[in-house]
């Protein structure tokens, strides 16, 4: 037996699962060596989820990254000869029109992000899957690439580890748990095990259900993930595929309206063959299991990740399942094989991948489905090697969570909520969480509640999207310009009054609560050097104190990593004002850049110190001058656009920043939190109506074609494509400069971010539609999704109705050849095609294109 190593380049904890094995494989593929894999049990695992998972894959992912990891994984399994592409069905029952609509949405999302799903009739579904009761369903989605990892993902994990060991670059040790991590000055140093200490530069935690315990007990942090029981039942004997040698005979069947799936297990002579497997995701009272309560191997009947199952827990959905697939009633229930498998749910539905926010060199790859296992291995290896991934990783980055989102109560509540929505009901793109709410509230919150605020949440912050109090006044006033959204889906989590507030702000004035802004103060001897190195725009040098600059951070390939505003507050003091959604990741980007490049700078989170209220509209200056102790200070010549100055409003100190995300005259007023309520009351009494965040974040943003990070701005695209290249390249060195310069010098880009409008909104039922979410853009001549020369697909990165423009506006990257103003395209929305016109190529807003209003 190999001598136990005392050092390694990388230690993988949890080597025996599909994720650990895939991480090892891809690190080796990317040139890494000296990798040690340890596992608390066997390799491949006999205790983890990989050991019991149902091992099927569907490509019906709802975002670009998941589509990437899933399709990558399927091709990976397939290349190994370990994939049975039997196809898969998702069905909609006759009494579930909502599910039928959801299937249409999934086909659209699939076109946007890249799968081959399409809708088929009930008869076609029956033809493909004979166990189906045809009369029960109105239609189905067919995924030709769905299939099963054969014989098991556990086998694949074992083979990957063996190949890794054969390469000489990986050593593995089973029955060797991590008992502690050695962390020094915020950096990982090594791993303790019962067999000895291994010093390591990198440690990757791929422990699935146990991962959170490594984080909490050994790294002093937490991960917003939780195991949940997932009933898996077996029925037999089923001898349809006797003698075929198959692991699966019929296509996979998902009946998400019943939160259930069903598949056969092939030839009875295979290990688990000769049965029908039926799985369920609890819709009403999911049974979460704290990782602390996981049993040890010797305590469990089947394994620690397989809990006992009481059939009464699933009797109701099973009765429904028997209607759809009567075979379940004909066969016998194999109680001994059936169990509650543990899988992991997460606070926002996405996994926890990437470097620890607190410990450099400590990486997580947690809460990953089998279908994403190899793809996640690839992502982790690329990220560790290059610092970036092919697809923007904002949705999986463990750094996206703020500290409050990694606390026990929040994790339990949010995970509980995601657990009962795994399959059903369909989750709306705007759907707010009901749990883990009212955690972060602005100083105005009580007033907003009195006004009947329609609250949604982002990053723990409560934000009113509109105010019921404005319905009597503003909606009355502007109602004839605001269409009714008669389609329930389009109107869901939307309040019509928001558009009235939008119009009032455009014609008069309004105040918008922006206290959710993430604010970071950067100071210290190298603050200027750091900010200059991070930013594409010039923020240091001769940038005057008091000036605010919108800038992007880009990665080394020129991919857009962040968009935010940097205000110079002193020679060596900068304030970074950032969106609530992106803040924590951008904070880590700055902090790590400073650490890696030796900048001596302090980065402080000041979010909770400052509130922000935006006051905008043609009457903004007039109103503020009425309240200002020195009204003349607000005159345009004294307070130019993009300037940041401190002044007082009836004695209340504010820092006014003359910038506008809503394209109107006015200021962001930043103030110490304690003054917030007084400021709000003063403005409210002066007649400034509150305007919900809907106007700021959606309707007016789209009218101004303002790009949003993680929606329109992604690392897959560069600044020239996004229309955000600066007129000149600053002379100073900055991160990604070389790539940026090269991209600017190209004759043309593969794609450009364009603004489009809907040319007709009426659907086949005669109802005007108001699209929400990502939808594909098609070539009207052939109905194909547009793809640029790099294979990137065109879909609506943002879409909203603009009441001032009177049209539904979308943004989308279009391939170069389609980038012509006036060009007509088609958007697919719930299986219907709607005409779209390219209004602008690059950064040209529909509302006030010359930006005169904001500068007025």
């Amino acid at each position: 037996m190999a001598k136990f190593p005392d050092s390694a380049s990388v230690v993988i904890i949890g080597q025996g699962g599909i994720v650990g094995a895939s991480v090892a494989h891809h690190l080796i593929e990317r040139g890494w060596d000296d990798i040690v894999g340890i596992d608390k049990s066997a390799i491949p695992t006999d205790i983890g989820s990989t050991g019991h998972a149902s091992d099927f894959c569907f490509t019906t992912a709802g975002d670009q990254m998941t589509m990437y990891t899933t399709t990558y994984s399927i091709e990976f399994f397939d290349k190994l000869g370990r994939y049975e592409r039997v196809g898969g069905l998702e069905v909609a029952r006759w009494d579930d029109d909502q599910r039928m609509e959801e299937l249409k949405r999934k086909v659209g999302t699939g076109k946007a992000f890249g799968n081959r799903t399409y809708l088929i009739s009930a008869a076609e579904a029956k033809q493909r899957m004979p166990l189906l009761e045809e009369s029960m369903i109105q239609g189905a989605l067919w995924d030709p690439d769905a299939g099963l990892v054969v014989p098991r993902s556990q086998t694949v994990a074992g083979e990957l580890v063996q190949a890794g060991e054969a390469s000489g670059k990986l050593q593995t040790f089973a029955n060797c748990p991590a008992t502690g991590l050695e962390i020094e000055d915020g950096r990982i140093k090594g791993v303790h095990t019962p067999r000895g200490y291994i010093a390591a530069d990198y440690v990757v935690v791929c422990c699935g259900l146990w991962g959170r315990l490594i984080a909490t007990d050994m790294a002093g942090e937490d991960l917003p993930i939780m195991p949940v029981e997932h009933p898996l039942l077996f029925f037999g004997p089923y001898n349809e595929f006797e003698g075929t040698g198959k692991d699966i005979g019929y296509p996979l069947l998902r009946d998400q309206g019943n939160s259930a799936y069903l598949r056969d297990t092939g030839d009875p002579t295979t290990t688990e063959g000769g049965q029908i497997e039926w799985g369920y995701y609890e819709e009403k009272a999911p049974r979460l299991v704290h990782p602390r309560d996981l049993l040890e191997k010797e305590q469990a009947r089947l394994s620690p990740s397989q809990h006992d199952l009481d059939i009464e827990q699933v009797m109701e959905p099973l009765e429904k399942a028997m209607e759809l697939t009567p075979i379940l009633a004909e066969l016998g229930w194999n109680e001994k094989w059936s169990f509650n498998g543990l899988l992991q749910v997460t606070a926002d539905g996405g996994p926890s991948i990437g470097e620890s926010p607190n410990t450099r060199g400590l990486w997580y790859a947690e809460s990953v489905w089998i279908k994403d296992g190899p793809g996640t291995g690839k992502v982790v290896a690329d990220w560790m090697t290059d610092g970036r991934t092919e697809i923007d990783h904002h949705g999986i980055d463990v750094g996206r969570y703020y500290p409050i989102q990694k606390t026990e109560n929040y994790i339990a509540e949010r995970c509980y909520e995601t657990a009962f929505k795994i399959y059903n009901p369909p989750v709306h793109p705007r759907e707010p969480y009901t749990k883990g709410r009212n955690i972060r509230r602005s100083p105005f919150h009580a007033r907003e509640q009195e006004l009947g605020g329609y609250f949604m949440e982002i990053a723990g912050w409560e934000r009113a999207h509109g105010y019921a109090a404005n319905e009597q006044t503003l909606l009355e006033k502007w109602g004839d310009q605001i269409p009714e959204r008669r389609n329930e889906w389009d109107n869901r989590h939307f309040w019509r009054v928001s558009n009235a507030e939008h119009l009032e702000l455009s014609h008069n004035v309004g105040m918008i609560n922006l206290s959710h802004f993430a604010i970071y103060d950067v100071s210290g001897p190298d603050a200027e050097a750091l900010m200059e190195y991070l930013s594409v725009a010039k923020v240091g040098g001769n940038t005057p104190v008091g000036k605010g600059v919108y800038t992007n951070f880009i990665d080394l390939t020129g991919g857009i990593r962040a968009d935010l505003t940097v205000v110079r507050q002193g020679v060596d003091r900068f304030r970074v004002i950032d969106g609530g959604d992106a803040g924590n990741r951008d904070f880590l980007w700055m902090k790590r850049m400073a650490e890696d490049r030796g900048f001596r700078a302090y980065i402080e989170d000041r979010t909770d110190h400052y509130g922000c209220l935006g006051v905008w509209g043609p009457n903004a200056r007039k109103v503020l001058q009425q309240l200002a102790d020195r009204p003349d200070e607000l005159e345009p010549d004294r307070f130019p656009f993009a300037a940041s100055r401190t002044f007082t409003l009836k004695g209340i100190p504010v820092t006014g920043f003359r910038i506008s995300y809503v394209g109107e005259q006015g200021w962001e007023l930043h103030f110490p939190f304690s003054y917030g309520l007084s400021l709000w009351d003063m403005l409210y009494e002066a007649g400034v109506p509150p305007v919900g965040i809907e106007t700021y974040a959606n309707s007016r943003r789209l009218e101004k074609s303002l790009r949003l990070q993680n929606a329109d701005l992604l690392t897959e695209y560069n600044l020239v494509e996004a229309g955000l290249a600066r007129p000149k390249v600053k002379p100073m060195e900055f991160h990604g400069r070389e790539a940026y310069v090269a991209q600017r010098e190209r004759n043309r880009q593969p794609a450009y971010l364009c603004t489009l409008t809907m040319q007709g909104q009426t659907d086949a039922r005669g109802v005007d539609r108001f699209p929400v979410g990502p939808w594909p853009l098609l070539d009207p001549s052939n109905g194909d999704v547009l793809r640029d020369e790099l294979g990137r697909r065109s879909y609506t990165t943002s879409v909203a109705f603009g009441p001032s423009v009177g049209k539904t506006i979308a943004m989308s990257y279009l391939p170069y050849s389609y980038c012509k103003e006036g060009n007509e395209l088609v958007m697919e929305y719930f299986s219907e095609h709607f005409p779209m016109k390219v209004e602008a190529v690059g950064n040209k807003p529909l509302y006030d294109p010359a930006n005169e209003r904001a500068r007025s």
Partner: protein
């Protein structure tokens, strides 16, 4: 022909047995329970006899805590007709169970009692034999095959060194061995139907049975943990150790 099948609720045989902290007994708190596998085999055989037309009714009897009702439902879902629960806590010893079953037999007058050869919790292998004695009926234990004839059963028993065939007069007590048959999985409709099948409830007092406890459980201990092995440097050393220390060669 009416068949009576006693069924026992035991710790699921696939569960690792835990001992209570104070060593007073096996810890059953929150543990998965199941029908004793030998009882399951007997029930399966009884149902098959009914399906083959030999029997008209299969009645299950459980003696134990209220939750033994779940065990009855399991058998009812397999196809038994009705159940009888004799609620008795703590669980009676084999003689107590045999006396209760005797009382039930007096009420029900079955033609055949088909039991498991033993329960996997206590491994006593006594109840069937005691019941046969109390009833004064013929007995066939460790049955691996059974044929029903008009006035007798022809059974095959698994005994040391081979198989034994016995012709046993009716009524009789038979106890099932492992290879008698493979229990079926109950179908979902039958699981649901089983909920509606009748279960009569009794206590030992109702039946006039005195369940005396004659045994005292002194102490329950886990088997000693296996000791770690050692590495030897040569074949010679291995042979020496096997000879001198392990004394196996």
């Amino acid at each position: 022909m009416k068949i009576l099948c006693p069924v026992k609720r035991v710790l699921d045989p696939y569960v690792k047995v835990r001992v209570k902290q104070d060593n007073s007994d096996v810890d059953l708190a929150n543990a998965k329970m199941a029908m004793n596998p030998f009882c399951e085999i007997a029930v399966e055989q009884a149902i098959r006899l009914k399906e083959q037309g030999h029997a008209s009714e299969v009645v299950l009897v459980a003696v134990g805590p209220q939750q033994s009702q779940e065990t009855l439902r399991t058998g009812l879902a397999m196809g038994a007709d009705r159940g009888i629960l004799v609620k008795a806590e703590p669980a009676p010893e084999p003689l107590g169970v045999a006396k209760i079953l005797k009382a039930i037999c007096d009420k029900e007058s079955p033609d055949l009692v088909f039991a498991g050869k033993q329960a996997v919790d206590g491994d006593n292998n006594q109840t069937g034999q005691m019941l046969s004695a109390l009833l004064g009926w013929a007995q066939g234990t460790f049955v691996s095959k059974v044929e029903v004839h008009d006035d007798h059963f022809l059974v095959t028993r698994e005994i040391d060194g081979g198989l034994e065939q016995l012709k046993i007069g009716r009524p009789a007590v038979l106890t099932a061995d492992l290879r008698l048959c493979e229990p079926r999985y109950a179908s979902l409709p039958n699981i649901m139907k089983a909920k509606k099948k009748p279960i009569d409830n009794y206590t030992p007092e109702d039946l006039g049975v005195e369940v005396g406890h004659r045994l005292t459980l002194q102490k329950v201990e886990e088997p000693p943990a296996r000791q770690a092995g050692i590495k030897v440097d040569s074949v010679g050393e291995l042979v020496d150790k096997l000879h001198d220390e392990a004394k196996v060669i």
